[in-house]
Amino acid sequence: MTSIVLNAKKEVGAVQLAEPILDIRNLNVGFARNRLIAIDALDLTVRRGEIVALVGESGSGKSMTALTAMRLLPVGAGIISGEVRVHGRDLLALPPSAMNAVRGREIAMLYQQPKIMLDPTATIGRQIAEPLQIHRGLSLKDAWPHVIEALRDVGIPEPERRAMSYAHQLSGGMAQRVMIAAALSASPDILIADEPTTALDVTVQAQILKLLVRKRDEASLAVLLITHDLMVVSAIADRVAVMYAGRIVEEGETRAVLRSPRHPYTQALLRSSLLAAEEDGRLYAIPGSASAARGLSCGCRYHPRCQAARSLGIEERCRSQEPSLSTASASPGHQSRCWGVQVTAGGMQ
């Protein structure tokens, strides 16, 4: 699956010149009740025609990033500061009514559980027609040919008949195709896909990923792919950002990050994925838990679990000062947030 999809990947050089579609700057999001910081000074850019993967374990703030960009944060979570720019316009400054015109039209979202994301009482055709009705002002009748075309485009057989079926009549993969058709029917510029393949079985995962890549190629769609699955990342992402405890700890081209990860957390994440099982076939588990980072007011968020800090003997520094994102390798744009990397790089000079 990996090799087939990799072939579809765009030339990296071309991608970097493209205009930024989604530009998140210095975003801080937190929960008011327990004073928890969910997203901590996040900077992220997704350019036209680019698939950027945001990876990290549960609770690292990846989904919160997606919901902030959609401005669909759950009750209790609030944006402290920052900007989410789409085409240069700050979405966080828009009035709520103006957001309705942006959602679905400029920025759309895919979810993890496609079947429960479809209204059980409406036909799938009607739901795909919704963005056309809302954003293009089409009647259901006028939108219908577009709906059939969209269903055919995402690979649903017999679209005329399928458009009349309901969510419970679809398989998970079919439902995700329908969700893709619905999300893209008003041709948004950026698609945020929150674990779009996690609930699907592996063969279907590959089909959905291929579909995403094809849509990206056809429409120069920008995709922010949120996942914890490094297989998916290596298959389709152009760039990857690794999140830990609300911060980006490493960022760069997929190949550079996955081949030569610099941050100890990225290294550990790779070791614990199926891409790199231990020699005896067992999977590595990162000692400790991410909750150790909660309540840290200074220092590197990862230092309580970091083995590199101990082996390099820089624990004191890691505990007291937070490293900045700095160049990690020769690959353009490859950055990591680690004292260890900076120390070794400095030592080598």
């Binding site: 959609m70 669909l72 009514s97 309705n100 015109a101 942006v102 959602r103 679905g104 039209r105 759309a108 979202m109 979810y111 559980q113 429960i116 994301m117 479809l118 209204d119 059980p120 009482t121 409406a122 009607r126 919704e130 963005p131 809302i134 954003h135 969700m179 619905a182 999300a183 008003a186």
Partner: protein, 307 residues
Amino acid sequence: MTRLDADLGHIRAANPRRGIRSWTLISTRIFRVHWMLLIGAAIFSTIALTLLVTPWIAPFDPSSQNILKRLASPSAAHWFGTDQLGRDVFTRVLYGGRFSVAMAAITLILCAVVGTIIGAISARAGGAADELLMRLVDLLVAFPDVVIALFLISVFGPGYGTLIVALTITGWTPFARLMRGLTLEVNTKEYIEAAEALGCSRWFIIFRHIIPNTLGPIFAISFLRFGHKLITVGALSFLGLGVQPPNSDWGAMLADARNFMDRMPWLMITPGLAVFITALSVTLIGKGIELERNRGRDENASSPYLK
């Protein structure tokens, strides 16, 4: 006798509800619905059809008087006898039913529409607006609806329009309360968030996603409330505040018959029975819908019929 037959016989003997069970078997096997729904629908559709074709089938003119035959007992010509002006009671029950059932249905539909929309808005808006609307509901519930209706009728004068408005103003509250609860539940569903992510506005979500997903319970309660509406319409007409002579409905007929209750009881019994049977049939439909909806969920507890 095979062993299976013996077992079945044993089960039948042990089941004291055999009579009901055979009914439920016919209902569920042939029509695949709960027997309450079947019987209620059968009775109500007969009543509704009869009332619809009344102008063609009624044996007499409802207001033609025949003083010579006043207060006659039931006979072949006058099935339910005649009233104090010699009018045919059977004809008047039919014509009266057209008013009563139509008024009850119109006010019920208005109540359901108004209550559903207000309940959905209240739940979606939340905060102060929600609080305000629900306290308004509390206030209206605290007053007996007939008292509010009497007040409105005394202000605007009697008549159909006033009756409908009065009964709608007092009757939307149960729908609003139910709808608010249902909306709060549907609001937590993922497809509502997905609809928001597609850019659906508040109204679009209420009408296209929330209301269709709450229609089942709303329908059930509508049918259950119908009997109540029929009786309230009857009560207000009984007080002389609904239909005005020479027209009459079941409530007005009851009021007229009151004076002759000791001598001519059928004058009172017939419209009374009509109200009773109509209300019962619609309530059966409502109950049947409710049980039908619950069928898959709690088979053992709530279904006395085929498992």
